[in-house]
């Protein structure tokens, strides 16, 4: 091999290679960050959806055991609570929205509850009919800021025909 041919790289060549490799690396980093964002958004959205379903199922299960349900503003009409009573009109279980941490709590006592789900709730509204509790709107905020909305209803199966 001719020693003159092994002349190495010039500054221009090195610069071009560095610019090209920087572009490639930047593209890969931006793709990684974009994929990471998509993955996080999907995950937090799925978690919020799961929490919304869990919240509705938890409320429905308690409502089905109750005789009477009383919604109340906690503290306003967009953020309500629900007191469930048995056949002796004794409060047995409650759900309420807590303004301090925007979580929905449940418990036998309004002063001693625990969060139903970990997702933050932005709206929590009920309507009650004679034998039915309508969960008008449960709106949860996912980690990426998107809102998950759901509604359902549950019948008061413990409400006998003689109950006023």
């Amino acid at each position: 091999m001719d020693r003159h041919a092994a002349r190495g790289l010039t500054l221009i060549e090195v610069t071009i290679v560095m610019v090209l490799s920087t572009l490639v690396v930047m593209g890969m980093i931006s793709f990684y960050i974009s994929s990471q964002c998509t993955w996080m958004a999907s995950s937090t959205q799925a978690l919020a959806q799961r929490d919304a379903t869990l919240l509705i199922e938890t409320i429905s299960a308690r409502v089905r055991q109750a005789t009477l349900a009383e919604p109340f503003d906690s503290p306003d009409a967009l953020h309500q609570g629900l007191i469930l009573r048995d056949e002796h009109m004794t409060p047995t279980w409650s759900f309420w929205w807590n303004e301090a941490d925007t979580l929905v709590y449940q418990g036998a006592d309004l002063n001693d509850g625990r969060p139903v789900v970990a997702s933050r709730v932005t709206r929590f509204q009920f309507d009650t009919l004679t034998r039915l509790v309508e969960i008008r709107l449960v709106e949860l905020r996912a980690g990426d800021g998107q809102l998950v909305r759901m509604s359902s209803a549950a019948a008061l199966y413990n409400r006998g025909a003689q109950t006023p």
Binding site: F31, S34, Q49, A52, L132, L137, R149, M150, S152, A153
Partner: protein, 143 residues
């Protein structure tokens, strides 16, 4: 000279090899990006599925709170308009309907007598027309 021979053997990477490697890498990256997008699409799709499930449950609970003689529980298809919109916060996300048929209780030992009502609630949704459904079935007392 030994070093010169060794250097002659290191001929580097050919243009075709670089092009092939780049094409394979691009295909892999595009496939990966597509899988993330598809995953996000599935999450959004399941959001509507969960809403539809809750809506079917709401309809069933609403019907169960009605007296057996209510118009909504008479034998036939309901509602009379064909379907009702399922709305969440004023936005229609699906359509619902339910069907009531007479049902023979197989446990009573008698055949061809009607003991119960079988209610089937169907909630359908999809872009450009219903393409997916959730179906709930429950037995109700006849009277």
């Amino acid at each position: 000279m030994r070093i010169s021979r060794a250097l002659q053997g290191e001929r580097g990477v050919g243009l075709m090899e670089v092009v092939a490697a780049t094409v394979i890498a691009v295909i892999a990256v595009v496939a990966l990006a597509y899988s993330f997008g598809a995953g996000r699409g599935l999450v959004n799709q399941y959001e509507v599925a969960r809403i539809a499930l809750a809506a079917a449950q709401r309809r069933m609970e609403t019907l169960s709170a009605l007296p057996a003689t209510a118009a909504e529980l008479q034998i036939g298809s309901h509602p009379s308009s064909g379907t009702d919109p399922v709305q969440v916060d004023g936005r229609t996300v699906a359509r619902e309907s339910w069907r009531v048929v007479a049902y023979d209780d197989p446990a009573d030992g008698r055949f061809d007598d009607l003991d119960l009502k079988q209610v089937t609630v169907t909630v359908s949704w999809g872009r450009g027309g219903p393409s997916e459904t959730v179906v709930f079935t429950r037995l109700f007392p006849l009277d």
